[in-house]
Amino acid sequence: MIAPSKPDLVTVNIDGREIAVPKGTNVIEAARLVGVDVPHYCYHPKLTVVGNCRMCLIEMGMPAVDPATKSPIMDPATGKQRINWIPRPQIGCATNASPGLHIRTQTPQIKDCREGVMEFLLVNHPLDCPICDQAGECKLQEQATGYGRGYSRFIEQKNVKPKRTLLGPRVMLDDERCILCSRCIRFSKEIAKDDVLGFIDRGSFSTLTCYPGKKLENNYSLNTVDICPVGALTSTDFRFKMRVWFLKQTNSIDTESSVGANTVVWSREGRIYRITPRRNDEVNDTWMADSGRELYKAVQATDRLTAAKVNGAVSTLDLALGAAAELLKVGRIAPSAPSPIAIVGSGRSSVEEQFLTKQLADALQAPTHLVSRVGEGDGILVSADRNPNTRGALVVGLVSDLPKVGTALRAVRTSSTQSATTDGSESRPYQEIHVGGLSNLAADIDAGKIKTVISVGEDLTAAGLTAAQLAKVAIIYLGTHANATSAAAKVVFPTLAVFEKNGTLVNQQFRLQKFTKAVPAPAGATDDLVVLVQLAAAAGGPALPADIHELWKFIAASVPALGTMTFANLPETGLLLDATPWAGWSFAEGATLHYQPAGGSPP
């Protein structure tokens, strides 16, 4: 990991407390460091500063110097340099740290400023909190409580504006609630690079809207809902579904691509209601793609596998493990002959599952394969490699080379295509993902060298194997959903989706990131780790624990970069691993936010 260059530190004084901060840090961020809350609406750490809400007004002063001699003017009363306070309040968001900057946030003037702005923001606000989705996570509510007067002096008619404007397929606008902070406009322009939002009319009648003929339908549109400080922008998916204070938050990782955007999974009573981004300044800042927010829907799908099966018949886990053990005993003809068993690992499995898959492969001396998924990166937070953990398979040694980019195509409807145009056609084309990497396995099956295939979570048909090839081999399938492979398999183990288990993934930066269990698995499904540990033992491998914390001792021992790190201690922001063994490899990814491919752009 390259150490960041040491920033130029300056000392500032906030409410009498001195702190050294990097030069140019604004007052809101500097105050945060000393535990002082400077309330704000329009300021967002990842967007340009516009200073329009006026909530972050503070008093600012600079040490007095003699204009002629430039020598400090001392205050005889305190013996310190006198501070020249500017009588006008300044905005904290656009006031940057400079040497000797003094800030006061707790004076009567500032209290009056905040009360004034709060009152102004509420005079035309509908105050429909009881039916507003933002209630419970609304800055207007929080800061009205913290900084408002608590009573109203407004007896006039409130302004009337549009209440239900569909800005795009996933975002609904209530203009009456909008406080015109322009965060969504700046996000669309600066981050999503899709400048479709703007204000029309003026004064208090200003109204947020899409430009004529445009829609807010890019794959990042839901970030505008996240950053909307009030209930003006709401998600059509989450709207009216659940009160946020009932929801449990679980840290997770977006598995749609190798970016590994950090996420929070919001659930209640075993059901997931939404996924939002979690700030990680090294990976995804505060953003994530809309497509990654819909992944939870697969968890509740009707085609989930919920019972172990042997030869198509429902079985118990023990019987299925026994049947699998029998299949694994189909030994080789001679000790020196190649194994008739092949293992198809997955770049969607966690590092722990890949580690156990590797143990299983070692015990069987079986060749391993990895399914590749390569699409087009969007340059923001969806990368070309749609496997979230290709690099995990390299780190644990499950495979020693990148899988070949497949030719089998799977058309994926990304979120951005859900809206239909007026004539009923899709507004954007289906996005193509090349799934494959199993051509060697296919050749081996055709040649009769392979008799048994263990697939850890991969649909072999989707990856390019034909039904005839599947029929030639006995398949042991671990997976979450029914598909052609589970239908053809001799033994099926229903396993867990990413939201139902703990684990780690290695993203494109070789950053090891942790996801944790948000909801319980459906009845009948078994933790992948349990199945893999049992299979490895049946194959004559070492006895390994299925508990992730115990298992980590073994993983840490075999992956030198991990040292004494434990699963519990893994930082929530991830751990950057040593990538030098793979330096110069041509990975599929192009540049995305916070990622530059090392060896130039891929072919």
Partner: protein
Amino acid sequence: MPAAAQRRIIFAHIDEPGYTNDLACYLQHGGYAVLRRSMARPPAELIDEVKKSGLRGRGGAGFPCGVKWSLVDRKSGKPIYLIVNADESEPGTFKDRYIIHQDPHQLIEGVMISCFANNVKQAYIYIRGEFPEGARILERAIAEARAAGFCGPNVLGTGYACEIYVHRGAGAYICGEETGLIESLEGKRPYPRIKPPFFPAVLGLYQCPTIVNNVETLCHVKYIADVGGDAYAKIGTPNNTGTRLLCVSGHVQKPGYYEYEVGKITLGELLYEVCGGPLPGRKFKAIIPGGSSAKILRMGETFALKNKDGTTRQLAVEDIPMDFDTLAACGTMGGSGGVIVMDDSVNMVEALANLNAFYAHESCGQCTPCREGSLWMKKITTRMVHAGARSEDGALLKSVADQIAGRTICAFGEACAWPTQSFVAKFGDEFKGAAETKPSTKSDHAIELV
């Protein structure tokens, strides 16, 4: 003592019989001779003349023009732009329009001298959208000047190139705020920029150093380049140099344009002697001395002003000299020179309701206090006029205005708060009394401007 005579510098020829706004007429009256002479001088010398002149901006704020020019970042390597602020929208002000209509070449000459002094290659005249005739006159005048070599690719054969473009606004008061104007000129909504960091002198039009000057100010620059800064500084009073155009409107016998040396005429002389006093049977009640945003003066009030020697003197409204500093000391401002006169027929609550309707309509809506406060004040005063007045409304109005002034991105916050603050402070009795008066019989549209 009779009032001092007018000193017509800007209006030297305007209103003369036979004086037209075409180039031929301007040349007959010695036009562009100053530009020719100025271009033979080093540019820095011209900037020095403006600094020595003490010229203060005539747009409203009265900021010294020489200081404004000296703040321009000349080392950035970026082009420097000059913008002529012809977005004259302040209620009660109509001088720039008259200059443009009657003597556009005077402005163009002032612009070209300023451009040459500051090494500007492109100048924009941002003219108010409601001035279509003014824009046509300017376009024609620029075409004439360009054909004659007074602007364009090779000015007066010196090789110096400078183009002047006319840009029409779309009818928004906020475009008179210099950073709002710049945003509008760039093709965006005229949301004023935050300062810091976007001071026009450093990060102005297209993020380049930019000078924004008022029409009248630039005409004064032409005169300064003619007579020299020292000679100009002798006109008017110290720190309030030159002449200024006063636009008198409202309840006087002779409203109109008057040009006087700054500070050489008092408000009383202007109203009673120059403008002929109140209408028959009426008495003056209140004066707004510098455009609608300036705080109102109530006839009969007196001000205790400090003299230089530390003593104080009492000054009646009639005795206030019309200069920047004294008007500021009296709690109001010289502003744009628009003198609005109200006599005893005016209901001050209705007058404020009219002003508040204007400011609520013109608030750009970018920052919270002005956006919400201006409309709230309008709603209160409109309600008061329509018989819904409460005894506490005066205090509420003042409190709302106090929550706006000084807390906004641009000076519009003060502009919309000062009328309310001063009306309520000085005519509190009328605001209190409004609660007891009978419903107004005036039709709604008299008040409801929006």
